[in-house]
Symmetry: C2
Subunit: 205 residues, 2 copies
């Protein structure tokens, strides 16, 4: 566990170090809060209806957050791979039952903080307000850009943007899941991929 | 201007006071950064393509943020009334040209902060990190809930929710704009309103 622990904590500390600087006692306090969790492929990190108690940082693997409607139709809300954070934010903050499922689409490892942990961090080390402010800001911006892109770009451009923006995700998820993220059918995504391939616009994964 | 200035600054200080506590010198510093702007109905606070330089707090009136596509079709991104904040966040943060328009749909007054103002605030008064963290968190949650609601609820439920959640907005904006926010045609919204009226489900504005 020693080496694995260090690899995982180095990753999360470097993620945090992008925005704030921690000294040794602060690092120690932060690391003392983390829970470690391993997921096999197809394990659920969260199921709709259950309490959403953790904010999760991914140290390896890939996860998919999706909504399943009454007809069992799934809509992919987001993907997350190594060095991303994921939760059902509205339910994590309100501490209400989750609305979405989060499933491991590959063997994954995550580090977890509870809402109490985040509250303690922000009280004990107010510089974490800055860290979480930037995290929330980036998440909001990502959602806004996705809404605008859905309104303004045809599906092939959105698929192309997805490949360029999230190459690590594109490599790990199925075409069905990508189609569901883009809000199109898998059949339509196949048509797009064939078109792009013939046009030699890009190297498809 | 004295009384109007006080009404407006009281409003924004009470908005901030929901999340952080400022002492007198801090209040003075914060107020010194604000710019005041008045908009007539149909004035643009921001036009797509122009630099997005301000984060805007509304002290009176109502604004609408929308995207206009190449065919001049408009999609309403958000509304904002008294005590709300509005900007084109991705472009405000990246300092790139705006992607959306923000128009006053009634005579409006806003207080403005630039990105430099926000950076100064967070450096001089780090407690503002907390304030902006909560603002960003709420904005992200609002967007997530909207995405989930669009996936999970029929249009009449979404219209009903809109009326319940944003009564102040529903009173001030046109049905055409509400339809565009809900992602449906104005004709379909009329059908929904007639249906709801007959069913006496609610008091429509």
């Amino acid at each position: 566990m020693g080496k694995l622990y260090k690899t995982q904590t180095d990753l999360i500390l470097s993620n945090i170090g992008k925005h704030i600087t921690l000294n040794q006692p602060e690092i120690k306090f932060f690391l003392s809060l983390l829970k470690f969790k391993e997921l096999k492929k197809k394990d659920f990190l969260l199921r709709a209806g259950e309490p959403c108690t953790t904010f999760n940082y991914i140290t390896s693997g890939a996860l998919r957050a999706f909504y399943r409607d009454v007809n069992d139709k799934e809509a992919t809300i987001m993907f997350a791979v190594t060095d991303w954070w994921i939760t059902d934010m509205p339910c994590f903050i309100s501490q209400k039952p989750a609305m979405i499922h989060i499933e491991a689409i590959a063997k994954s490892r995550v580090l977890q903080l509870t809402k109490d942990d985040i509250d303690s961090l922000c009280i004990e080390l107010p510089k974490f307000e800055r860290f979480f402010r930037i995290l929330m800001q980036n998440a909001y911006i990502r959602e806004q850009l996705r809404v605008l892109q859905n309104l303004s770009q045809p599906a092939e451009v959105r698929y192309n943007n997805f490949l360029e923006k999230y190459p690590a995700i594109a490599k790990q998820v199925t075409l069905k899941n990508i189609a569901s993220y883009l809000g199109i059918t898998p059949e339509f995504l196949s048509v797009i991929r064939n078109k792009l391939r013939k046009g030699k616009f890009l190297n498809l994964p």
